[in-house]
C-alpha cells in the first residue's frame, strides 16, 4: 500500500528471540516490512545494551551499525543520552530530551509492550509513549518506531504499524518518518561510520 517500514529492533535465536533469522526474514517479506536484527552478532546488526551503571555502559560499548541503549536508572539515562547517534529506550524528561536532541539520539517507540498485552501493563506502555511523544515534539527528538519482535508473529506490516501509530497520536508525517526516514538515517550513519567516511561529527568524506 505504498508505505515502507524499516524495523530496527528484531531479535532472532542468536540473542533473545525464538525464531531463526531465515524465518524472520521470510515472514517480514510476507508482511512487506524490512528488518534489521538487534542481536549484536554481526557487523550488519544493531547492538543492545541494558545497563544500570556508567561503568557497565563503557565496558559494553562496541562498534556496531547502531546501538540501542536501555538505561535502568535515572543516572544511567543521563549517561546514555551523552552517547551520540544512539537509540534510547527510556522515559523522557525535559533534561534528557534536550540532551538527546543535541546528540542526535532517537527515542524508541516500541510496539512490543502493546501487542498481546492487557490491563495495567498496556496502560503503562501507553503512558510512556504519550510522555515520550510530548517531549520528543517539544525538543525535536526523532522518533523511531519498532516492533521489538522476538518471533515472526511479533512482526507487523507497514500499513498496520502506520495505522497504529496514528491511533497512538502521531501525525501522518511523524508516523511516516518514525517508520522509514529515521531508521534509514540511523542505518546510513552506521554504514558511513563503518566505512570510515565520517571521520568526526559533522565531517563526511564524499
Amino acid at each position: 500500500m505504498g508505505m515502507r517500514f524499516l524495523d530496527l529492533c528484531v531479535y532472532s535465536k542468536d540473542s533473545v528471540g525464538r525464531d531463526t533469522r531465515t524465518d524472520l526474514e521470510a515472514f517480514a517479506n510476507t508482511v512487506g516490512s524490512e528488518i534489521r536484527f538487534c542481536d549484536g552478532t554481526g557487523a550488519a546488526d544493531g547492538f543492545e545494551i541494558v545497563f544500570e551503571k556508567q561503568q557497565d555502559l563503557k565496558k559494553q560499548l562496541k562498534p556496531s551499525l547502531y546501538t540501542v541503549l536501555e538505561p535502568q536508572s535515572e543516572d544511567a539515562a543521563a549517561m546514555a543520552v551523552k552517547v551520540k547517534h544512539t537509540i534510547i529506550r527510556a522515559r523522557l524528561n525535559p533534561v534528557l530530551a534536550r540532551a538527546m536532541a543535541e546528540n542526535s539520539c532517537s527515542i524508541e517507540l516500541s510496539l512490543a509492550p502493546l501487542i498481546g498485552t492487557r490491563g495495567v501493563k498496556r496502560t503503562r506502555a501507553l503512558g510512556l509513549i504519550r510522555t515520550n511523544l510530548k517531549y520528543a515534539r517539544k525538543y525535536g527528538v526523532s522518533i523511531l518506531a519498532t516492533t521489538g519482535a522476538k518471533s515472526s508473529l511479533g512482526l507487523r506490516s507497514p500499513f498496520q504499524v502506520y495505522e497504529l501509530l496514528r491511533v497512538l497520536g502521531l501525525t501522518e508525517d511523524e508516523a511516516k518518518s518514525a517508520m522509514n526516514s529515521t531508521p534509514r538515517n540511523i542505518v546510513t550513519h552506521g554504514e558511513l561510520m563503518a566505512a570510515g567516511k565520517i571521520v568526526s561529527e559533522s565531517v563526511r568524506l564524499v
Partner: protein, 118 residues
C-alpha cells in the same frame, strides 16, 4: 422502513489473514477481534466501529471484516494489537481494504478463496 442509501453508513471491507499454529474456528476469530477492540478502545467507542466478520475461511484462516469508514484506522489498529487467539500466539495481517466485497476479493483474495458468508 429502510434508510435511504445516502444516509446509510459507509462501510469498508478489510481482508485479513491469521498467522497461527493449529486450527482456528470462526467463533474464536470473532471473539478475538471484538475482545481486542473492546479492551483497547473501550465498550463505548468500539461499539461505533460497526465491526462484523462478513466471511471467514477456517481452512485458509482468511476473512473479511467490515467496519464503518470513519473507524477504519481504529479497526486496523485493533487487528494489529492482537497477539494471541486464546492462549495460542497469533498475528492478524491486513491484506487490503476496499469499499466493496467484490473489489476486495478481486484485488486481495485472488486465489479463489473458499470463504463462507456468516
Amino acid at each position: 422502513m429502510s434508510i435511504a442509501p445516502t444516509l446509510r453508513p459507509n462501510k469498508r471491507y478489510i481482508a485479513f489473514i491469521v498467522h497461527t499454529d493449529g486450527p482456528l474456528k470462526t467463533r474464536e476469530a470473532v471473539d478475538t477481534i471484538l475482545g481486542e477492540a473492546t479492551a483497547f478502545f473501550g465498550e463505548n467507542l468500539s461499539s461505533r466501529f460497526g465491526l462484523w466478520l462478513t466471511e471467514f475461511d477456517e481452512e485458509k484462516k482468511q476473512g473479511i471484516l467490515s467496519c464503518n469508514r470513519e473507524h477504519k484506522g481504529e479497526t486496523i489498529a485493533a487487528l494489529t494489537l492482537i497477539g494471541a487467539v486464546g492462549t495460542t500466539p497469533a498475528s492478524f495481517q491486513v491484506l487490503g481494504i476496499s469499499g466493496t466485497i467484490k473489489a476486495l476479493k478481486r484485488k486481495f483474495l485472488k486465489d479463489g478463496s473458499n470463504m463462507s458468508a456468516l
